[in-house]
C-alpha cells in the first residue's frame, strides 16, 4: 500500500494531471452527496416551498432557482444535488458487492484449476458477454418484486452485471501467481491451500482491483442512468435520479425549455468523466509498464582524478 502511494507521488506528466483532475471533480460530487441536506434548498421530491406555495413549473434559471425548475415543479439544482447522493450510493454499493463476490471467486477458481475452474470461467464469460444494460434490466425486473424499487434494488441489479470483471482479472493473475516460487515455497512449508490463498496469493493479486473498481463505477453510473432513463431504475418516489429526470425532460426541450435536460445530463457526464479520469490516472501511475518517472537530467561534474600518469 505504502509503495503504491509512493509511486503515485513520483509520477509526472499527463498521468498525474489526469489523476488530480479526476480526484478533484469526484471530490466535488462527493461533497454534494454527503452534504446534500444542507446544500440543496429543497428536498428531492418537494414541489412546494416551506411555506406551502407551489413551486413554478418550468421556470428558467434565476436567482431563486439556480438551475430552474422542471415540469414536476421540482427545483433542478436540488434534484441534481440529491441525484449525486443517489448516484454515489448505488455505485459504491454495487462496486463493493461486485468485488466482494468476484474477487474471492476468482482467487478460488484460479487456485483450484481443473474443471471447476473451466466451468466458472465459462459461466463468467457468458455473463460478461451480455450487454450490461440488458443484463441490468433483467436483474432489475427480477429484483423489483423482492426488494422494491429503491437504492438497494438498483445496486443489486448492477452488482450481478459487474462480477465477471473482477473474477476474470483476479483469476488470471492468480493463475500466473500460482506458479511463483514463493507459492511453491509455501507448499514446501506445508501450508494448507486456504492459507496459501489467503496469505500468499491474495495480497499479490489484488493490485488491479482499485483500477477496475473505479472504471467500473463510471460504467455502473452510466448503466444506472440508462435504467432510470428507461423508467426501470429507481422509482421517483424513492430517490432523485438523473437518468429519470433526463427522460422527463426530453419532451420539455421541444417546448423550448433546455434547462431540465441540460443539467442532469451534464451531471451524468461530469461524474462519469471524473471517475474515468481517476481510474485511468491510477492505471497510468500504478502500472509499471505505463509509468513515466521524473528523471533528473544528468549533469556531469568535474573529473575527480588527479592528472596522474596516463
Amino acid at each position: 500500500m505504502r509503495r503504491s502511494l509512493r509511486t503515485i507521488w513520483q509520477t509526472r506528466g499527463l498521468a498525474r494531471y489526469l489523476l488530480v483532475a479526476g480526484v478533484v471533480m469526484t471530490a466535488a460530487f462527493v461533497v454534494l452527496a454527503v452534504f446534500a441536506p444542507w446544500i440543496a434548498p429543497y428536498d428531492f421530491a418537494q414541489n412546494t416551498t416551506d411555506a406551502g406555495e407551489r413551486l413554478p413549473k418550468l421556470a428558467p434559471p434565476s436567482g431563486e432557482h439556480w438551475l430552474g425548475t422542471n415540469d414536476q415543479f421540482y427545483d433542478i439544482w436540488s434534484r441534481v444535488v440529491w441525484g449525486a447522493r443517489t448516484a454515489l450510493q448505488v455505485v459504491l454499493l454495487s462496486v463493493f458487492l461486485s468485488a466482494l463476490v468476484g474477487v474471492p471467486l476468482g482467487l478460488l477458481s484460479g487456485f483450484t484449476g481443473g474443471w471447476p475452474d473451466r466451468v466458472m470461467v465459462f459461466l463468467m464469460d457468458a455473463l460478461y458477454s451480455f450487454p450490461s444494460l440488458l443484463l441490468a434490466i433483467v436483474f432489475s425486473f427480477l429484483l423489483r418484486s423482492a426488494v422494491g424499487g429503491g437504492v438497494l434494488a438498483a445496486a443489486l441489479a448492477l452488482t450481478a452485471v459487474y462480477i465477471p470483471q473482477y473474477f476474470r482479472v483476479v483469476r488470471n493473475t492468480t493463475v500466473s501467481a500460482r506458479e511463483a516460487t514463493y507459492v511453491e515455497a509455501a507448499r514446501a512449508l506445508g501450508a494448507r491451500p486456504f492459507t496459501i490463498m489467503r496469505k500468499y496469493l491474495f495480497g499479490n493479486v489484488v493490485q488491479s482491483v482499485p483500477v477496475i473498481g473505479t472504471l467500473n463505477a463510471a460504467d455502473a453510473l452510466g448503466t444506472l442512468a440508462a435504467l432510470g432513463f428507461l423508467g426501470l431504475g429507481i422509482q421517483p418516489t424513492e430517490a432523485a435520479e438523473w437518468g429519470y429526470d433526463l427522460s422527463r425532460a426530453l419532451d420539455d426541450t421541444s417546448a423550448g425549455a433546455w434547462w431540465p435536460a441540460l443539467f442532469p445530463g451534464l451531471a451524468i457526464i461530469l461524474l462519469i468523466t471524473a471517475l474515468t479520469l481517476v481510474g485511468e490516472g491510477l492505471n497510468e501511475t500504478l502500472n509499471p509498464a505505463l509509468r513515466r518517472r521524473r528523471l533528473q537530467p544528468v549533469r556531469f561534474t568535474a573529473l575527480a582524478r588527479e592528472g596522474g600518469a596516463r
Binding site: 537530467p297 549533469r299 556531469f300 596522474g308 596516463r310
Partner: protein, 352 residues
C-alpha cells in the same frame, strides 16, 4: 596502454578516455561508469569482469550507444580514431551493426520468432550493404553458419526450432556476417549449460583467427576470462581498478579487490572458503576517493581522502591503488597517510 604479450604493434580499434556513463534517476545521477580508460587493439580479446552492479554491462552498452532514456555519456570514445561521442545519431546508427556488433545474454528475445533464419540474414545484410545480390546473401549467410557449426539444412528454420546453444551461435553468426571490427559480448554464456558454454567460449576465442575481430567479453566468470582472454579489466563500482595481461593479473593481482575476488572464487582447486566483507556501494553517492576503501583489507588513511591514480606497474598491468603504488615505490606517502584506515566494522546488515 600495455601492448599485447607478443608485442605486435596492432592498430588501436577502441580507445576510451575518461569515459563516463551516468543514468538519470529521481534521486540524482547513478554514476554507473565513472572515468574509465582503456584501449583495445585489432584481434584482441579483452575480458571485463566484475560483480553485479559494477557497471560492466553499462560500459558495454555505452560503447555502442545502446543506453536507455535518461542516460548520458561524457569523455572521449574513439573508434579507429573517430570520437563516437561527437558523431550525430544517424552516423552512430550507421556504425552499429556494420562496424560495431553486440552479442546479448538471451538470444531468444533478440530474434524475431516470425522470421526464418534466412530472412534474418537477408535483412541484416540488405540494411548495411545496399544492392547486395540474393546469391551473395545466401553465400555469406551459409558461410557464417558453417563457421558457427550450424548445419546448412537449418537455413530456413525458425528461431524457436533451435536449442539454447544453437541460438547463441545463430546470434553470433548474425553479428559477424557483416564483419564488424569490434564486438561486445555481454554475458553471452550465462544462460547456457556448462558444456555448451565451453563450446561458445571456444567459438568466441577463435573469432580473431577467422574474422580478425576485437572482442570485449563481459562476464562475472573469472574462469572464462582466464581461458579465453588476452587482457582483463577488473571493474568495481564504476571504475576499472586493474587492467593488464590476463596471465599477469591472475598470477600477480595488484589491486586488493582483484586479489580478494580471485580468493573468493570457488574453483576445483579451492581448499577454503573466502569472501569479501560488506557490499558494493550505492552508485548515486559512491564513497569518496578510492571506492573500495570501506571493504579493503589493505586500506590506509590516504585511501579515503585522495583518489588513487592509475599507474603502470612493473609486471605489465595497471592498477589504481595506493597500496600497490607504494609497494612498487611509485609514490611516497608520509606516515600519516600510510597509517591503516580506521573505519566502522562491517556486519551482515551491510553485506551483499
Amino acid at each position: 596502454m600495455s601492448p599485447r604479450a607478443d608485442d605486435q604493434a596492432e592498430e588501436v580499434v577502441i580507445e576510451a578516455e575518461d569515459l563516463r556513463v551516468w543514468y538519470g534517476t529521481e534521486r540524482g545521477p547513478v554514476r554507473a561508469v565513472d572515468e574509465v580508460d582503456f584501449t583495445l587493439r585489432r584481434g584482441e580479446i579483452l575480458g571485463l569482469v566484475g560483480e553485479s552492479g559494477c557497471g560492466k554491462s553499462t560500459l558495454g552498452r555505452g560503447l555502442l550507444g545502446l543506453l536507455p532514456e535518461g542516460a548520458a555519456r561524457d569523455g572521449a570514445l574513439r573508434f579507429l580514431g573517430t570520437d563516437m561521442l561527437t558523431l550525430s545519431r544517424r552516423e552512430q546508427n550507421r556504425l552499429r551493426g556494420r562496424e560495431l556488433g553486440m552479442i546479448f545474454q538471451e538470444p531468444l528475445t533478440r530474434l524475431n520468432p516470425l522470421m526464418r533464419i534466412s530472412e534474418h540474414f537477408a535483412e541484416t545484410l540488405r540494411v548495411h550493404e545496399k544492392g547486395i545480390s540474393k546469391d551473395e546473401v545466401k553465400r555469406r549467410s551459409l558461410q557464417a553458419l558453417r563457421v558457427m557449426g550450424i548445419p546448412p539444412t537449418r537455413f530456413r528454420a525458425y528461431p524457436h526450432e533451435f536449442s539454447g546453444g544453437m541460438r547463441q551461435r545463430l546470434m553470433i553468426a548474425l553479428t559477424l556476417v557483416l564483419r564488424p571490427s569490434f564486438v561486445v559480448a555481454d554475458e553471452p554464456t550465462t544462460a547456457l549449460d556448462v558444456l555448451v558454454e565451453a563450446q561458445i567460449i571456444r567459438i568466441l576465442h577463435d573469432l580473431r583467427d577467422t574474422f580478425d575481430t576485437s572482442l570485449l567479453l563481459i562476464t562475472h566468470n573469472l574462469g572464462i576470462v582466464a581461458e579465453a582472454c588476452d587482457r582483463v579489466a577488473v571493474m568495481y563500482a564504476g571504475k576499472i581498478v586493474e587492467i593488464g595481461p590476463a596471465a599477469e593479473v591472475f598470477r600477480h593481482p595488484q589491486h586488493p579487490y582483484t586479489r580478494e575476488l580471485l580468493r573468493s572464487t570457488i574453483s576445483l582447486s579451492t581448499t577454503g572458503l573466502n569472501f569479501i566483507e560488506g557490499a558494493p556501494p550505492d552508485l548515486t553517492t559512491p564513497p569518496p576517493a578510492c571506492r573500495f576503501h570501506p571493504r579493503c583489507p589493505d586500506a590506509m588513511s590516504v585511501c579515503a581522502t585522495r583518489e588513487p591514480p592509475a599507474l603502470d606497474l612493473p609486471g605489465g598491468s595497471r592498477a589504481a591503488c595506493w597500496a600497490a603504488a607504494a609497494r612498487h615505490d611509485l609514490v611516497t606517502l608520509d606516515a600519516e597517510e600510510s597509517a591503516p584506515l580506521e573505519r566502522e566494522e562491517l556486519s551482515v546488515a551491510d553485506e551483499a
